[in-house]
């Protein structure tokens, strides 16, 4: 797979398609937020349609950059990409005008079961991302017209089936042809970059971690189990598509719900960074590179910012930092903004929700954990720490999406 990490923007691409690393906490929480807003059925439709478009972009890109030629070769390449990106294993079958897909260890359904299965009963399927992939893979491999297939996830392990099963039918699906962003678009956006505090350390960490993750890919199950989380390399156009299409819907129909939506979109960033970045810092891999972390807040904030760049989140910079008091984080480009700008142009209200939640988690990780003791990061700890609230508030004071040169978030104590 051809991964490109841009030194200019610290965004990441597979061939020309923007991608980013995210954990199952983020994936599940964000999908849940869309479900809460639109209801299970409408949200499944939106998520699978957005996923379809994002996967189609990637798979068409991949195939045009490879020497596969037959439908079976193309399908095999597609399935390999899906697996290597940590989305699980999927078998696809297509004959004339009907097909099916069988998923094993699909990232969303499987990790939902692992995280929530003991506590909550689920009544609707969890894998619209795989459903979208199945459509895209068949269309691209068999040269079918776009928007010519529909899928239905009739079995899902998150709702206690033995496997995830999808029917695929030759039937037109709704056409959404708004532009998706690609590498050329993202890399050519004007970027006014000024180095921030601890820049040397941030760059060093970003470089080391990018090198380490270059070889990371799905195991036999098609899952990437690392740092105590399930990691995916995922499609930025998917994340941004589901977030901003839902936000737009609320702005036009139920504006009083944009605030809880924004809060939950932010929380998906918070839960992600707390678990993933915390998992990285407590890992043997990190320890082998940098030793066990200490409670030095300046070192910690530079580590965290370096990790963000390494995972493809963009050019994140520490503008100001006062331990236990204040963080001002700037992103001269992030993976959220390009999509919004291409799709909707400028907006009135700042809306880089992931940056908000992530920066909150930075201060939480520094403030609430004792890095010189044994830290057990798990869901139990998360619930215990945040039962009464996060303890830090964040404000997005500037946003690329409103026309500013950068997105800036200010984190202070509540």
């Amino acid at each position: 797979m051809s991964r490109f990490c841009s030194g200019k923007t610290d965004l990441m691409y597979l061939w020309n398609t923007p991608v980013v690393y995210h954990c199952h906490h983020f994936n599940l929480f964000l999908d849940q937020t869309i479900e809460d807003t639109l209801g299970p059925q409408k949200s499944y439709e939106l998520r699978s349609n957005v996923a379809y478009r994002a996967w189609y972009q990637l798979l068409a890109d991949a195939i045009s950059n490879s020497d596969v030629s037959t439908p079976i070769e193309k399908l095999t390449l597609a399935k390999t990409i899906f697996k290597n990106m940590g989305h699980g294993k999927i078998n696809l079958f297509w004959e004339t005008n009907k097909g099916e897909a069988i998923g094993e260890f699909l990232h969303y359904g499987y990790s939902w079961k692992q995280k929530y299965g003991e506590f909550v009963k689920r009544f609707h399927p969890a894998d619209p991302v795989a459903a979208g992939f199945a459509r895209a893979a068949i269309e691209v491999s068999f040269n079918l017209p776009t928007f010519s297939l529909t899928t239905d996830e009739t079995q899902c392990i998150a709702i206690d089936s033995e496997q995830c099963y999808f029917t695929i039918d030759l039937q037109s699906s709704p056409k959404d042809e708004y532009p998706l962003v690609d590498r050329e678009y993202c890399e050519n956006l004007e970027m006014l970059y000024r180095p921030g505090k601890y820049e040397e350390k941030v760059r060093e960490v970003a470089k080391a971690l990018k090198e380490f993750t270059a070889g990371v890919k799905g195991d036999e199950r098609g899952l990437v189990e690392a740092f105590g989380v399930y990691v995916t390399m995922h499609l930025s156009n998917y994340y941004n598509g589901i977030t901003y299409e839902t936000l737009k819907y609320l702005e036009e129909n139920k504006p009083f719900l944009t605030k809880p939506f924004a809060n939950l979109a932010k929380e998906s960033g918070h839960v992600c960074v707390f678990n993933t970045f915390g998992g990285i810092l407590t890992s043997a891999e990190w320890e082998s590179l940098y030793g066990k972390p200490s409670n030095d807040p300046e070192l910690l904030i530079s580590y965290l910012t370096g990790i963000a760049r390494a995972l493809g989140f963009g050019k994140w910079v520490i503008k100001d930092f006062e331990p236990n008091k204040l963080l001002v984080l700037r992103t001269y480009i992030n993976y959220e903004a390009p999509y919004y700008l291409a799709r909707f142009g400028h907006c009135k209200e700042p809306n880089n929700f992931f940056v908000r939640g992530a920066s909150q988690a930075f201060m939480v990780l520094i403030d609430k954990l004792d890095w010189e003791s044994e830290i057990t990061l798990n869901d139990e700890l998360y619930r215990k720490l945040f039962k009464e609230g996060i303890g830090w508030k964040v404000e997005e004071t500037k946003s690329i999406c409103t026309g500013s040169a950068y997105t800036e978030v200010v984190v202070t104590r509540e």
């Binding site: 849940q32 937020t33 809460d36 807003t37 929530y116 506590f119 909550v120 009963k121 689920r122 009544f123 139920k254 009083f256 719900l257 605030k259 809880p260 939506f261 809060n263 939950l264 929380e267 839960v271 869901d379 619930r383 945040f386 039962k387 009464e388 609230g389 996060i390």
Partner: protein, 197 residues
Amino acid sequence: MKDSAVSLPFSMRRYVKDIDGLQAVFVLTFPDGNLYSSWTSPHSSIDTESTAGYLGDLIRANRKVIKQLDIPENVQITIESQPFVLLVKEINKYFDIVTIFNRSVSLGIMRMELKNLIEQIEPHLKTVTPSALNEGVKLINFLKRYSIDTHVALDRLSLVTGIDVSKFHNPMGLTEEEIEKVREGVKYILGLQKLPF
């Protein structure tokens, strides 16, 4: 002095101010196990909301055991531990009280103080039945007690129900139609097909 949460009907404070060694008092409804009123000492580390949640489970289990063993009703259960002693007693058909004392207080004094406390509270509770308790309060408390991500539970509820989140901070003001949506929303978020009340 830490008094109970928003929207609870009466203040416990005046009844407990002179009781030495008392760490907390909870008055809970039966059979829902919802918190009706509470008081926690400012010097105590007891977390009112989560303790109340689990005490609700305790009093429900307690009553079931009493019934199962055919024990005469209105018994008092004493749970001794370090550093606390809990006394659990039924006030009437619809309410139970749990007092938490420092272990240093003698058992005799604890029992006497509990008896006095019940005598003061009971007249107030005579006029209240659980059905009079606002359904909205019950639902919100239940959601907060059992949701996985408590700190964002109300945001989720707002999206799921389409109700402005500010209304959940004063659930007694919810309309019947809104309460019905909240009920469905709580079931959805907690993955339940029905609620235990």
